[in-house]
């Protein structure tokens, strides 16, 4: 509403469009990272992990404390990813293993309970007031030909690191024997077990890797949304929407869905109003699902009769 009112010159229109596009890619990368975490867990255990929002919040708080005490951003960054790995493995072993194979809703309720519990625990340990999380690089936008764009080195880092993680996970899944075993234990656990694959251990590893992708999203998005116990609920929901748009079985779909959703929400927020964003997310999701009920990158699955 605000910026679109009577633009004086064509170049301003272009600048605004470029800004919205770059901003959309940057926030979309974060959604993609959360979506990637959800997709990895869905592929491995057929569970939608709502606790991901709480887990990434918690690891971001840990990173914040580490940065406050050591003064090193990168040490905090690494600690966030490492604690995400441990937390993911612990959650799978202690809470998810007992409800695996049970009614699917029960696992959903367990992850919801964990989300609520982690948010409350973070409130107890770190307090409810919002904290500003330092960005990895400067948040001063790039100057190109005298025009400053709303895309900063820290946004570049966000996009590159999410793409890097997505690419690395893709390579691991496709080209290593570990990835082959993980895919095998996700798609045919019984057969994989018969062939000597330690299925349980690989499911734990799957949760741990997914939590790393989630933790990355938390550290990357924290500078712009601030750090608080329930500050990442929106990121979680949009990440889930992105994963559903892309198709829950497809890591590529998670990235495409995340970037696509980020772009649409950025345009809607810029050209209409930020209060239309949730409605736009619903419309985009419904439009995609009406055409492809299993997401963009779904493959036709056999329905057993």
């Amino acid at each position: 509403m605000t910026a679109s009112d009577t633009p004086t010159s064509g170049s301003e229109v272009v600048t605004e469009f470029v800004n919205l596009t770059l901003g959309g890619i940057s926030s979309g990368a974060v959604y993609a990272s959360v979506a990637l975490a959800l997709v990895l867990i869905w592929r491995a255990t057929r569970i939608v992990n709502f606790a991901q929002g709480g887990m990434l919040m918690f690891t971001t708080f840990i990173a914040y404390e580490v940065i406050q005490h050591t003064g090193s951003y990168w040490f905090g960054f690494v600690v966030a990813l490492a604690s995400g790995f441990v937390l993911g493995a612990l959650v799978e072993r202690m809470l998810i293993r007992p409800v695996e194979g049970g009614p699917p809703l029960n696992a959903v309720i367990v992850t919801l309970g964990l989300l609520i519990f982690l948010e409350a625990l973070a409130g107890m340990l770190f307090g409810g007031q919002l904290k500003s999380f330092p960005p990895a690089f400067s948040i001063r936008g790039f100057d190109v030909g005298g025009t400053r764009y709303a895309f900063a080195p820290s946004d570049t880092f966000t996009v590159l690191s999410v793409f890097g993680v997505a690419l690395a996970l893709g390579l691991v899944f496709r080209y290593t024997s570990l990835g082959l075993k993980m895919r095998a234990s996700a798609f045919a656990p019984e057969v994989a077990r018969l062939l000597g694959v330690r299925v349980g251990r690989l499911l734990t590893l799957g949760w741990a890797l997914a939590a790393v992708a989630g933790s990355l999203a938390g550290v990357l998005v924290a500078p712009s949304v601030f750090l608080g116990p329930d500050q990442f609920d929106g990121v979680l929901i949009y990440g889930f929407v992105a994963a559903v748009i892309g198709g829950l079985d497809s890591p590529l779909g998670a990235v495409v869905g995340g970037i696509g959703l980020g772009l649409v929400l950025s345009y809607v927020s810029g050209y209409d109003s930020s209060s239309s964003v949730t409605l736009a997310a619903l419309i985009v999701l419904m439009a995609v699902l009406m055409i492809r009920p299993g997401g963009i990158f779904s493959t036709t699955s056999v329905r057993r009769v």
Partner: protein, 389 residues
Amino acid sequence: MTELSSAPAGDNLSASPPTGTAAATPAPPRRRVRDSALIRHLAITALAGVVLWLLSLWLTPFNDLRLANGAYYFVTLAGLTLLTGLSGQISLGQGGLVAAGAYTSALLMANNHWALIPALVASVVVASLVGGLLGIAAARLRGPYLAGATLAFALALPGITDRFAGTFGGENGITTNAPVPPTSLGANFSPERWQAWIACLAALVVLLLLLNLSRAGTGRTLRAVRDDEVAASLCGINVARTQVSAFVVSAACAGVGGALYVEISNLAAPDAFAVTLSLSLLAGVVLGGLGSLAGAVYGSIVLVLLPNWSTDLANDLSLNQQVSSNLPLAFYGLVLIIAMLAAPRGIQGVVLTVTRWLRSLRAGPPDTLTPAASTPGRIDTDTSTGGEG
């Protein structure tokens, strides 16, 4: 196929066979009254009404308000348990439908000065229409895709009130006047008790309708679709239509719930219908026991009492403010996790197990029953508990 044939057999355990069967095979005279489902449901509803009436007289005004809140939760959970438990469609968007009902009531009562009952009916109509649209979209979707779509719906509906703040009052919402008890009840009759009466009456009507619905052919059709869509469609059931109608019925219940919410709190504001409402409704229905109306009762009791209990507990422990303000939430999360690990079928599952155990104690040693006769019955119970009322 097997589920279709076993569903009526499962009904025998806690309820009578359908009236058609009862007419065909002459039952012993002493069971004839119990065999009429309608009379039994009327009796259950009347009994519940008497209990609620006595409870409302005994409770303090503050607790009468809790009772009214319990009725609001029950109505909403009953609709959700029909949708998710009987027809097998997960909905994370029930709060959005409650919001549709609440805003309809609040707008009509505040702007057009409608009375409570017509506003409630209008809420049901609007919520059913919205639910029908959502259901048409949902009939194409399964599992997590349906969860994602309904979650986006729950997120978007309160967002609409912000986008069109002129109509819906934005963040502050719409306030209405509290219902005034009729003067014939006496000057000292507390408004809270009157609110509880209205809410409980609406809940009883919903209870009676849903009891009949889930026992009759509709209930069996829903269960058939839930258990095996292909088998159901081979039996001539229109799967998509059944799923959409389940959405409409549950949305109508949510509409009643929304109207009751406005009746109780005299306010329709976006904060009350955030995504957390949808999620806690789902948690309530699973905690109570999915697919049974008794489970919806337990779930609504939990949703009303648990926050209060945990807040009292936090206050009693005299911890520092940062910890005690978060303790209720932590407790709630822990209860959800532990309940799902310890009692996967919710409170109703525990109740069923305990009553079966008591019945087996009363029946004496197991050699009075031949194993061949007792075993199939037990299997039937296990397969049909998800859909038992």
